[in-house]
């Protein structure tokens, strides 16, 4: 029944919206984003093509690196020359822009199309909603929660594929003896802290993580489990190689693909690298969500629409927002991107075994995990990840000292 409805939707919804937007006439939109790698380009061009099919012009402003792209967007908004649409992450990154009244409210189209009814999971609505109005369009979900494992390596040393960090640690010395790097990790701040959060959620579970990251609950932070996370994290780091500092994530994934390393903790965007290398999910490589409780973290991207003086731009922006949530466009976009769609009624028949795991898991509301930057400012998450990174790189940095410093950030009010 659900399938039938989704087929109906895919047939009729695009028809209805192409008609509506054609009435609005030719529109021109400039979009700032940071999707510049091969797979990402393929994804954003799905948006561009859909927009052009509506008879409009798409001006692509691709800027390498999320920081640079967001910096450009903010500078241009403040400088009075904002783009039509701009990419941000599912996070607090653009909260200031909303509070300063610099973004266009999308409430008109959101309530007309019933966004609140179909956007899934509902946490995404929370991210975009301010004082009852929509200010951003979630377009996809990316999750950090994965261990990417080369099956050949484990076959070679005669061990089963690990399902938890404990199992991984138990087998790591044997892998090392075989001359293979057990843990591939790129030593950049975001990779180090990303892996830390995966270790944290798999060891202490999401509820406790939420009381630390969201509620800044010092008692929860001090109840002993966070220390064991730090200890496990340090143990894991014994099994990396000395080429780690500064290594890019995809170079690190390549080590797992080539069998030089056994495992990498990375987000689901790593799947694209395995696919390009011609490896098959669950056969040549395994994707494992570590821990007894399995979570899928709610990362991903949104688009915001800066306010313009020209009232005509608003129509353009609303039309584009409506296009981005359209199920047909969503299916094409997310299949190209390898991410999960932001609604359930999307055709995902092209999903591989790993993506299917994510799709199954996200249907269970209890398995949905939020990330620290969903509640915290970039200043907070950066100060936090500085400590994590320093803790990983400085063996003299004790767990006790790290606990004190992290508590300092927790109570800093950043």
């Amino acid at each position: 029944m659900k399938k039938f409805f989704s087929i109906l939707l895919t047939i009729f919804v695009p028809l209805s919206f192409t008609n509506a937007s054609k009435a609005a006439g030719h529109m021109e939109a400039e979009v700032i984003h940071w999707w510049t790698s091969g797979g990402e380009q393929a994804a954003i061009s799905q948006f561009a093509e859909a927009w052009q099919e509506m008879g409009n012009t798409w001006i692509d402003t691709a800027i390498t690196g999320g920081d640079n792209a967001r910096g450009t967007t903010v500078n241009r908004i403040i400088g009075g020359n904002p783009p039509t649409a701009a990419q941000f992450n599912i996070s607090k990154q653009f909260v200031d822009l909303v509070e300063q009244g610099l973004l266009q409210s999308l409430e008109e189209v959101a309530s007309a199309e019933g966004w609140r009814d179909f956007i899934y999971p509902p946490e995404l609505i929370e991210t975009c909603e301010f004082e009852g109005e929509f200010y951003c369009v979630p377009v996809n979900i990316h999750s950090w929660q994965w261990m990417w494992i080369n099956n050949d390596v484990y076959k070679q040393v005669g061990l089963p594929v690990p399902q938890t960090f404990e199992e991984f640690l138990a087998g790591a010395p044997k892998i090392q003896e075989a001359g293979i790097i057990p843990l591939a990790l790129g030593g950049q701040g975001w990779q180090e802290s990303g892996m830390f959060d995966v270790v944290a959620s798999s060891i202490m579970g999401f509820p406790l993580m939420r009381s630390v990251y969201r509620d800044k609950d010092v008692d929860a932070f001090r109840d002993g489990r966070f220390e064991s996370v730090l200890n496990t994290y340090r143990e894991l780091n014994q099994f990396t190689d000395e080429g780690s500092p500064g290594r890019l994530w995809n170079d690190t994934t390549a080590m797992v693909i080539e069998g030089k390393a056994a495992m990498q903790v990375m987000g689901d965007w790593a799947r694209g690298e395995f696919a390009v290398a011609g490896m098959e999910a669950m056969k040549d490589y395994s994707c494992v969500i570590p821990g007894k409780e399995k979570y899928v973290a709610l990362g991903g991207d949104v688009f915001v629409f800066p306010k313009h003086d020209d009232p005509k731009v608003k129509d353009t922006q609303l039309a584009m927002a409506s296009m981005m949530v359209n199920p047909t466009v969503q299916a094409k976009f997310n299949n190209a991107k390898g991410s999960l769609p932001m609604r359930l009624d999307v055709d995902t028949s092209a999903a591989d075994a790993c993506m299917q795991m994510g799709l199954d898991l996200i249907q269970n509301p209890d398995a949905i995990m939020r990330e620290s930057d969903d509640w915290n400012t970039p200043a907070f998450t950066a100060a936090w990840s500085d400590i994590i990174s320093e803790f990983r790189n400085d063996p003299n940095y004790t767990v006790a000292q790290a606990m004190d410093d992290l508590e300092g950030v927790l109570t800093s009010g950043l």
Binding site: N68, E242, P245, D386, D394
Partner: protein
Amino acid sequence: MPLFRNIASMIALLPMIVISLTVFVGCIIYSFVYSLTNSKLVPVMNYVGFDQYERLFKQRKWDVAVENIFIYGFVFTIGCLVIGFLLAVLIDQKIRGESLFRTIFLYPYAMSFVVTGLVWKWVLNPTFGLENSMHMWGFGWFELDWLVNRDLAIYAVCIAAVWQGAGFVMVLMLAGLRGIDEDIWKSLSIEGVAKWKSYLFVILPMLRPMVVTAIVLIAAGVVKVYDLILALTSGGPGYATTTPAMYVMENFFSRANLGQAFAASIIMFISVVCILAPWAFYEFYLRNKYAAN
């Protein structure tokens, strides 16, 4: 009135003066005002006093950054001067193929810091750089892990910077050496002064303008070092090679913490003024006074 003595040149200079005043002085005032606020992503007038400065000085990362800029400044300046001068002296020995060597030594200077950073990143990388090559050639004892060693990484940055900057100092010095009168060399050899002594105690002091020029140019490069480190280590491992300029840029762009970035840049500005003020006072005031006398 001396101010109107040369109206044509005053008019020609006017745009420059206006731009300097509005852009530089204006921006400094703007930065200072907003460093007293808790601006995050966009500048807002939300006065918090000197909180940002207090937070800045509590940051372990800022301490590391300040320490690094001193290490880098010292090693880079001395390294460039010594190696640059030595290269110039060696080339000055009327050797064969002088222009070839000059080109080779100056070549690194023609590269951007980003390229220099990337080249040295590969050379110093322990898993596929020089260390790996040496191991493959059978020198198993060879170890070169500076780039990934927290305590040595900043010196790896210095090596790359000196490699790039020394050639430029060499050219400056060489120009100076070529300007030394032949008669001075003749008299030195008649006196029987050893060659190294002549260079060190007679020629070098005569090159004072070249040395001062080189130091000023190098020092300007030290304060703003950013791209080299970004390309070479991105501030890592951890934040072991971060610098004040990187701290500012980070807070401006990726961390959306404008107030903190403004505070750090004001501190940078004040330190530069503290170093430059005595020198400027001497150059522009005392010297004129003595010259007048």
